[in-house]
Amino acid sequence: MIRRQRWLGPAMFMPAVIYILALVGVPFVMAFLYSVSDAKVGSVSYHFVGLQNFVSILHNPAFLRALQDSFVFTITSQVLVLIGANILALSLKEAFPGRRFFRFLILLPWVAPVSIGSLGWKWILDSLYSVISWVLVRFHLVNQYDTPMWLGEPKLAMMSVILVHTWHMLPFATVILLAGLTAIPKDIPEAAAVDGAGFFRTTFQITIPMMLPIINVAVLFGAIFTFTDMTVIYILTRGGPYDTTQVIPTEAFFTGILGSDLAEGAAISIFLVPLLIIAAYIALRSAHRAEVT
């Protein structure tokens, strides 16, 4: 019995270990090895160059710009997601006819492949056929012959990718916050009502503070995901115009894969890893705390 157990346990968890090593560990180590080398696409040579790639990207204005934009992109979209998800979760908590249908609708952007959603947005934000511009023209808010270039002007392009990414991230955060909201015992808001608190006092002094641990989880996971995701930007702007919507993941992709400079791409992509590990650690810790209380 005891002898059999000695190999049975390891045998049972080995697939998980292999999976993590092969699909997470190896690529991560490779990326790290590439970032301290002169590896290029199409060449098998490997020379250790130390931190030269990191020094090089820190002197590259395009990278610094992407780094800055990454923060703008992530922070702005997460703030918007946080506000939107709170409003949605609070309004979807109450029972009303058609609530299930609305909850389903909210989930759609998350369930649909992001590429399809973003393609839809590409048309909505098109320079010629934009339905938003059309509406603005009809209401005489913009000149018919000088419609906004939603994806063609630096500020508008950044705004557009942030909004589309927010649209994409909103359902996930809403679902998490809804879960947090339903976990609050019914007695608590009722006690607040009897204690004389109105809607705003109950929301801001009772409900939201009680949801804080779960809000932390939603924001940190959302932020990590946003920092590392490039889908929306890749489909809508490819980092343009003039690299004004370039973020770290797209910069790494364009440099390392399309630009063939594997080493520098790797350096760019792992530049934020320490920061993200700290964020992930905090996220997991607050997720754990949210579970206990």
Partner: protein, 348 residues
């Protein structure tokens, strides 16, 4: 001032279903401790929640201090409520929990502080001000909930089974404390419980409810000694009243009035029954005997007798004895409606 009145108050949760509360007419008196007593599902909590404004009545009227409050929100009703779970705000310190209702009122900070200290001193919890609810024991939480309720000196005090989360030992002392406390502040209180001992011990008057309807309102002595129907008779008392259905009348008497030979003779006018004892329980202060009536119109009906341990009569299991009840202790109920009727002659 704060007399609560309900008129034909009804709550139906799902259309077509029977009501959770049906046509309840209730009137509390100034400064009274009114207990709503009933088994679970009797509608007592729903009734309380309607008075609090947390549940909308299907029909009927609620008046507080003579003013119709049906359309007022809980905050406009000037009431305070203690929940079964206490519903303390877990992220706020005890002090912040207590001043929360005052902040909602917009009371200035210094007065808040003073008021909170007053409420806390009444309950002896000033030393807990900086703690969070999760760091408190059950009894301490209950006191904080009470302090939060009285801090703004409400005109009416609603309590929903506030002792049910305490362990048995603590419950007895908390019960007494709560009762004294209410007398001291003199605020009208409506208290919901399913525990008859709590109801009897604390209530100035007890409202016995069953299936959404009020069965009887009266002082603890009223509802115990003069039950209005067989439900009240059997719900109160442990063991409950003996109910003996006869051909045209239901006869009821309390186990402690069903007494053995030697005692019965001293009672004056009384009725005797043959009592076949099946088994007895010795409970220290008293003995409880279970058995059946033998002979007469109630032959074979179950009956229970409760005898103080000081009556050291030998009453072995399986023996047939002659027990008796004083005539004044026998209650009569109508077999059709199960309501009390006037005394009749007992069928032989």
């Amino acid at each position: 001032m704060a007399v609560v009145e309900t008129r034909k108050l009804t709550k139906v949760f799902k259309r077509g279903n029977v009501g959770a509360v049906v046509n309840v007419d209730l009137q509390s008196r100034e400064g009274e401790f009114l207990v709503l007593l009933g088994p679970s599902g009797s509608g007592k909590t729903t009734l309380l929640r309607m008075i609090a404004g947390l549940e909308e009545p299907t029909s009927g009227e609620i008046l507080i201090g003579g003013k119709l409050v049906n359309d007022l929100t809980p905050r406009e009703r000037g009431i305070a409520m203690v929940f079964q779970s206490y519903a303390l705000y877990p992220h706020l310190s005890v002090f912040k929990n207590i001043v929360f209702p005052l902040k909602a009122q917009g009371m200035p900070k210094e007065r808040r502080q003073k008021q909170a200290e007053w409420a806390a001193s009444l309950l002896g919890i000033q030393h807990l001000f900086d703690r969070k609810p999760r760091e408190l024991s059950g009894g301490e939480r209950q006191r904080v909930a009470l302090a939060r309720a009285i801090v703004r000196e409400p005109s009416l005090f609603l309590l929903d089974e506030p002792l049910s989360n305490l362990d048995a030992k603590l419950r007895a002392s908390a019960r007494e404390e709560l009762e004294q406390f209410q007398k001291r502040i003199g605020t009208t209180a409506i208290y919901v419980t399913h525990d008859q001992v709590e109801a009897m011990a604390m209530g100035d008057r007890v409202v016995v409810m069953s299936q959404g309807a009020v069965r009887q309102i009266g002082t603890p002595a009223d509802v115990y000694d003069e039950p209005a129907d067989t439900f009240v008779a059997t719900f109160l008392g442990s063991p409950p009243m003996n109910i003996l259905p006869g051909p045209d009348v239901i006869v009821g008497f309390r186990p402690e009035h069903f007494l053995p030979p030697g005692v019965a003779e001293r009672m004056g006018e009384h009725i005797s029954f043959g009592f076949q004892i099946s088994h007895g329980e010795y409970l220290g202060a008293e003995r409880v005997l279970y058995g059946t009536i033998a002979g007469g119109a109630f032959d074979g009906r179950k009956a229970v007798s409760r005898i103080p341990a000081t009556h050291a009569v030998s009453l072995p299991d399986g023996s047939l004895q002659t027990f008796a009840v004083a005539l004044g202790d026998v209650k009569f109920f109508d077999p059709g409606t199960e309501k009390r009727t006037s005394p009749r002659s007992i069928p032989a």
